[in-house]
């Protein structure tokens, strides 16, 4: 998950990576006040969970407090790359000598940690990599390798540092590496890293993406208000509801409610629906071995979504068992009721038990099964997907 610039900068300052003494503003007035206090031209940066903010108009400058208020208002009432701007980070505008790049990421081809320095910063690093690869210097490390400061020195030299600045910049590289390791990051970037006219290095921007699966090791982040979120953008209300229930859920813009078992078929089933001319309304994963209650809640998310016209259900019981699955569906049918047509295929571990549960329940309450078609292993999953598309088109 990605951090906001102002969050990443909080962590930067814990590790003594120099940042300007900026401030977050949520209103025009706060922006004005900051500019008045600073008594210098300021820069206003929209806080969104996406890159390419500068190009998209998310960074603005102001010479006077009045102008700062105006610019802040513009940013706070707009969307950048589709994301509404709720916070802006205000900084004093610096006299820049040079813009550099520093980054650390995981190399998943070679299973290494890669530290990158580029003497051309403030632009997209992929762009530079294509155009001027010699400007980039890389150091690759094993996962358990400690970072020796002389690598920092070598990268700092590549960035043109000399004398006292060489030591300062190599210390920044070392600190950035320590930060990366400390928080189980997948990516840390300073782009641009400013060298000011008066010879200071200052992180102009701060990007961090953390390994969600290692967040349990960092309870202090939650205390700082840094909670789990998407890699890009904030969650919709339904996504937040799903997260509260610990269901991996993602809103898409189609009309077929997807109720697949397993993330793999979740992704593939999405393609199948497209192949047959439909569009899914969501992505959803049940997680390993979901309880009947959780399965019922998953169906609530779909049935209550006004955009959903039909539901495509697929369960190949592995770690998740068909008996639990059938129980969950029945709980949902009884307690909530199914208002959308649903087609379902169920097989795998404990399928006989699942079929028995459905049969018994249907005997008792045939009315709650009126919108549902249930299939077994005899019907290929492609036919089920096709049927879901048909059902959606009929509405």
């Amino acid at each position: 998950m990605r951090l906001y610039e102002y969050e990443a900068k909080q962590l930067f300052s814990q590790f003594n990576i120099p940042i300007t003494s900026g401030q977050v503003a949520e209103t025009k007035e706060q922006a004005k006040a900051f500019a008045e206090k600073t008594k210098k031209p300021v820069v206003l940066k929209a806080q969104i969970l996406s890159g390419g903010r500068g190009k998209a108009g998310g960074v603005k400058f102001a010479d006077t407090p009045l102008e700062a208020g105006t610019r802040a208002e513009e940013l706070l009432t707009t969307s950048i790359k589709g994301f509404p701007v709720n916070k802006i980070l205000m900084d004093e505008k610096l006299d820049i000598e040079k813009e550099l790049y520093l980054g650390i990421t995981l190399d998943r081809v070679n299973y290494k940690i890669v530290v990158l320095a580029c003497s051309e910063g403030g632009v997209e690093i992929e762009e530079v990599a294509r155009r001027n690869p010699h400007l980039i210097k890389k150091i690759s490390l094993d996962v358990d390798q400690r970072f020796f400061p002389f690598w920092g020195m070598s990268l700092a030299r590549h960035l043109g540092a000399k004398g006292e600045n060489l030591k300062k910049l190599s210390q920044i590289v070392v600190s950035l590496f320590n930060l990366f390791k400390q928080y189980d990051a997948k990516l840390v970037e300073i782009n641009p890293l400013f060298l000011t006219k008066d010879g200071r290095y200052i992180a102009g921007d701060a990007r961090m993406s953390l390994d969600d699966d290692a967040l349990f090791r960092h309870p202090e982040l939650a205390e700082m208000g840094i909670e789990i979120r998407h890699e890009e953008g904030e969650m919709t209300e339904r996504e937040k509801l799903a997260r509260g229930w610990e269901i991996p859920y993602l809103d898409l813009d189609g009309d077929i409610g997807m109720f697949p078992g397993g993330a793999g078929f979740g992704i593939m089933g999405n393609d199948f629906i497209h192949y047959f001319g439909g569009k899914p309304a969501n992505f959803m994963d049940s997680g390993g071995g979901p309880s009947p209650e959780r399965l019922a809640r998953m169906l609530i998310l779909l049935d209550e979504n006004p955009k959903v016209k039909a539901i495509f259900g697929a369960r190949f019981g592995g770690i998740s068992r068909c008996d639990d699955f059938a129980k969950g569906v029945v709980i949902f049918l009884k307690e909530h009721g199914l208002t959308k047509p649903m087609v379902l295929r169920m097989t795998g571990n404990m399928w006989q038990e699942g079929v028995r549960i459905f049969q018994e329940s249907k005997k008792e309450h045939p009315e709650i099964f009126k919108n549902i078609e249930i299939h077994g292993i005899e019907t290929p999953i492609e036919e089920i997907a096709q049927r879901a598309v048909e059902l959606a088109k009929q509405r």
Binding site: R217, L250, A263, I267, F316
Partner: protein
């Protein structure tokens, strides 16, 4: 013949006393898998389903000559457990749990490499050699002994592919789940190479998905293979940059897209299937 696991594998279950551990041990036993012991620190001396429970893996190896392990433990204990198995001399470890921290799994890979241990997962449904042994959580119903190998990052896709192969009479030699986590113990490369060497396997179905670089990396192996490889990629219509349940399925850079994966497979000479039903249609062209 088969790859990695067969009826002679001496299997232990790490975390045998937990709910999932016990449930799937029962299933695996019922399938005929030779489970010789289980571990659960502090519970050494107990029995689960008549299987002896030990505190440590080293005891399982010393007393039962165990060579294979299936791990059913919470993610935060997985690194420790797998490395324990590696140091105890286990040669093949199947990691069922999901959401293992990236740095933990990178450490596991390093230790495994040192000792020549093969690790599958994390977040794998396991591995099955139909009719011989079933390690993990895969449902028996989908699988029949036969002549096609399968390898996939997803459990559910493994089931659908095997189901298709079983119902069309091809059957499977071994079905391997690589796992859905971002850093995996084994990759398409490793498993494809094993299938190439396995006499009974006449063709391989590999199912990839968006995110990560494992499919692209498989290109050089597929190019060198004498057996037909059928490739399938999930996520052609997935929205970019959003987490799709599998942590690995985040589209990061050009390497991770469905397009780049399809391109790599096509260039390597793999035959592309769009849906499962395409698989038997492609196999028909080969005399297997």
């Amino acid at each position: 013949m088969a790859i990695l696991v067969d009826k002679s594998s001496k299997v232990i279950v790490q975390g045998i006393t937990g709910g999932a551990g016990k449930f799937h041990t029962e299933r695996m036993l019922a399938y005929g898998t030779k489970i010789v012991a289980g571990t659960s620190p502090g519970k050494g001396g107990e029995k689960v389903l008549d299987i002896p429970v030990y505190d440590t893996v080293e005891e399982c190896v010393a007393n039962h000559d165990a060579d294979t392990s299936v791990v059913f433990l919470p993610a935060r204990f997985v690194m420790e457990a797998v490395i324990e198995a590696i140091y105890a001399g286990i040669k093949f470890v199947v990691v069922i749990p999901e959401h293992i921290p990236i740095s933990d799994m990178m450490t596991v890979r390093k230790e495994a490499q040192k000792f020549g241990t093969i690790v599958l997962g994390g977040n794998t449904a396991g591995i099955i050699t139909p009719g011989e042994a079933n390690l993990g959580i895969m449902p028996d119903i989908a699988f029949k002994p036969g002549r096609v190998g399968t390898v996939s990052r997803s459990g559910s896709l493994t089931y659908y592919v095997a189901d298709t192969l079983s119902r069309t009479g091809y059957g499977e030699t071994t079905c391997v789940g690589l796992g859905g986590d971002p850093v995996l113990g084994s990759t398409f490369n490793d498993i494809l190479a094993l299938f190439e060497k396995d006499e009974k396997t006449k063709a391989v179905v590999m199912v990839g998905e968006i995110g990560g670089v494992y499919e692209e990396m498989a290109k050089t192996t597929i190019e060198k293979m004498s057996k037909p490889v059928i490739g399938m990629i999930g996520g052609i219509f997935a929205p970019p940059g959003k987490r799709m349940g599998h942590a690995g399925a985040i589209v990061e850079g050009e390497m991770g897209t469905a397009q780049s994966k399809l391109k790599a497979l096509e260039e390597a000479g793999a035959h592309i299937a769009k849906t499962f039903l395409d698989i038997p249609k492609i196999l028909e062209k080969f005399n297997i």
